[in-house]
């Protein structure tokens, strides 16, 4: 079956400019530098990485909020970047986004009803005018908010509730794919679970496919079927949740997993501690060959010369972009 979303060698570079009257480009921030993956219907693909890895830029480009520098994205086999006018509007109905910050993702001057109803204003063919109010109330109910609060303003809601409003808005047009860009990162711990459960429930009820972007590996594991690990604009490893968390083969993934704190003091002594040295290199001037080599304990000459492709290697089962990929069990109980 064709994947619902196919991303092929997606590239996004931002020019770095100087000059006052006439601007010269002196370099590029290579935010996304050749990313490829598939999203299947009904699944959740988690995208993890630390700051600067390009995952948020990836979200922007997938949503066509930023134009790509190169590469293709296909939705149901059709080229997303080639769409214009009506076809583009139709696409907008199918792919939506939930943003990170509940305090800036809602227009403070609009009522909740207007915010959740705006998709219907922009796409009037989805619902006739008379029905819109009812649909908005239903959406509020579906995300666990009181439909009576339709006339309230965002500042009268808590962070978790605002995030629910953002989810209701994304759901309004009944999209097939929702890109979740760090949807729970800005929420309190006790509220995160509520919103995560909501996302899981909605996926099951509406058959949604998610691209779930986050930096918190525990959160990603909970919701994802497959996971892609990003570093400096590239995917370094991709596989099922069980493969990535249970048998990671890329050194960066391994370092990430050994760094994530586990809420169980009994496991303190037994954990493998891989500690990376140095800082993340600048995305304007990434290292040659394998970008991770400057912090990698396995780096050899080949790592400097040859860019490792994201392919299944050796005895492995899932693609990994490392010349010395080797599966390892790192987490205590998996």
């Amino acid at each position: 079956m064709t994947p619902i979303l196919e991303v092929e060698d997606l590239v996004k570079h931002f020019p770095v400019q100087t000059g006052i009257v006439v601007k010269r480009t002196i370099g590029h921030v290579r935010a996304v530098d050749g990313v490829s993956f598939d999203l299947h219907e009904g699944e959740t693909l988690g995208v993890v990485g630390e700051s600067g890895c390009g995952k948020s830029t990836l979200a922007q480009v997938l949503m066509r909020l930023e134009p790509p520098t190169a590469g293709t994205v296909r939705f149901h086999g059709e080229d997303v970047f080639a769409k214009r006018g009506k076809a583009l509007q139709a696409l907008r109905r199918q792919i939506q986004i939930v943003l990170q910050d509940p305090y800036t993702s809602l227009n403070p001057r609009m009522t909740v009803g207007d915010i959740v109803g705006e998709p219907f204003e922009i796409h009037p063919e989805v619902a006739p005018k008379g029905e819109r109010r009812r649909k908005v109330r239903e959406l509020l109910d579906v995300v666990g908010l009181n439909p009576e609060h339709i006339h309230r303003y965002p500042h009268q809601f808590s962070g978790g509730q605002r995030q629910r409003i953002g989810i209701a808005r994304a759901l309004a047009l009944r999209p097939e794919v929702i890109i979740c860009d760090e949807p729970v990162s800005a929420l309190d711990v006790s509220i995160q679970a509520q919103v995560m459960n909501l996302l899981g429930d909605l996926q099951r009820e509406f058959g949604l496919s998610y691209v779930f972007i986050a930096h918190d590996l525990s959160v990603v594991r909970h919701l994802s079927d497959r996971v892609a690990v990003m570093y400096l604009g590239k995917i370094v490893e991709i596989g099922t949740e069980e493969e990535i968390y249970g048998r990671p083969s890329h050194p960066y993934t391994q370092a990430l997993l050994s760094a994530v704190p586990v809420p169980d003091p009994a496991l303190r002594a037994g954990r493998a501690r891989i500690r990376l040295s140095g800082d993340v290199p600048s995305p304007v001037d990434p290292p040659s060959g394998c970008r991770f080599r400057t912090r990698c304990w396995k780096a050899t000459e080949i790592c400097e010369d040859e860019v490792p492709d994201l392919v299944v290697r050796g005895a492995g089962h899932h693609p990994s972009a490392c010349h010395h990929a080797e599966e390892q069990h790192l987490l205590p109980s998996s």
Binding site: S190, Q194, R221, P263
Partner: protein, 333 residues
Amino acid sequence: MLEKATGASPLLEVDGLHVEFRTRDGVAHVLNGVDYHVEAGETLAVLGESGSGKSVTANTVMGILQSPPGHVTGGAVRYRGEELLTATPERRRELRGEHIAMIFQDALSALNPVFTVGFQIGEQLRTRRGMSRRDAERRAVELLDLVGIPGARQRVRNHPHQFSGGMRQRVMIAMSLALDPDVLIADEPTTALDVTVQAQIMDLLAEIQAERHMALILITHDLGVVAEVADRIAVMYAGRIVENADVHSLYANPCHPYTRSLLESIPRVDTKGSALRAIRGLPPSLTRIPPGCPFHPRCPMAADVCSDVVPPLETLPGGRSSACLFAEELVGR
């Protein structure tokens, strides 16, 4: 109340602290009787979400509470038995940095962008220890080295914005150690950092603490970090301590419904569980704290009595305590 068997007072203790904030919407009861203490060489984690009062307590201890709008309305803070809240501002300033130091979540705003890090670290040494400029700079280089900043001798001349997030945090740690404090309060030191950097910083703190036999008060909301580094934990909710226990007991057998629910609601990286058991509802608004137990509107075990009585922090067997009327039952489970 919190004195050890030998009669000596704890290194740092907070006793029944009450703090109010006058806001536009009324009086916010930010702290409603906070008790905790820490000894030399141990790590106390103060665990709570936003609004729990964990940062306000730390700011009050350090004497940097914004006042107005904050006012201490009761309780005491003692360092080696000495009352701090009634001490003179000079004495408090003396203790700050020299005996009790603090590091914050956002190093970029805690450090002055206009001066070099060497100058800022050296400033305390020059003013408090009377060191010469050259000696202060030399010591600053040593400190930067200690916290793992490569090329310390050159980097001592850099400004804060020239460091990455993790490095800036290390600079802040170096600054806090300049006067060899006995107690270090770390307020969400790694929340804004990537997980790999977080691990490095937590390792560094542990190393420094062990070396200097320093007391560390770690303020955080991250149950994972706490499990990895803490000796004892004080769980805060709505300006109160709701549970106090050593780390192993707390995780193996939480004795307060809030702690229990929190542990059940977090996703874990080492297992893929089924649906998380979310805590329903929202943390209370501090201007309108519910009567009785502040957690009762959200508590899965709430009974009628919970809205009438404010549960006191009761001691339980094993040197732990819990502010729940049904704590005894939970101990057994």
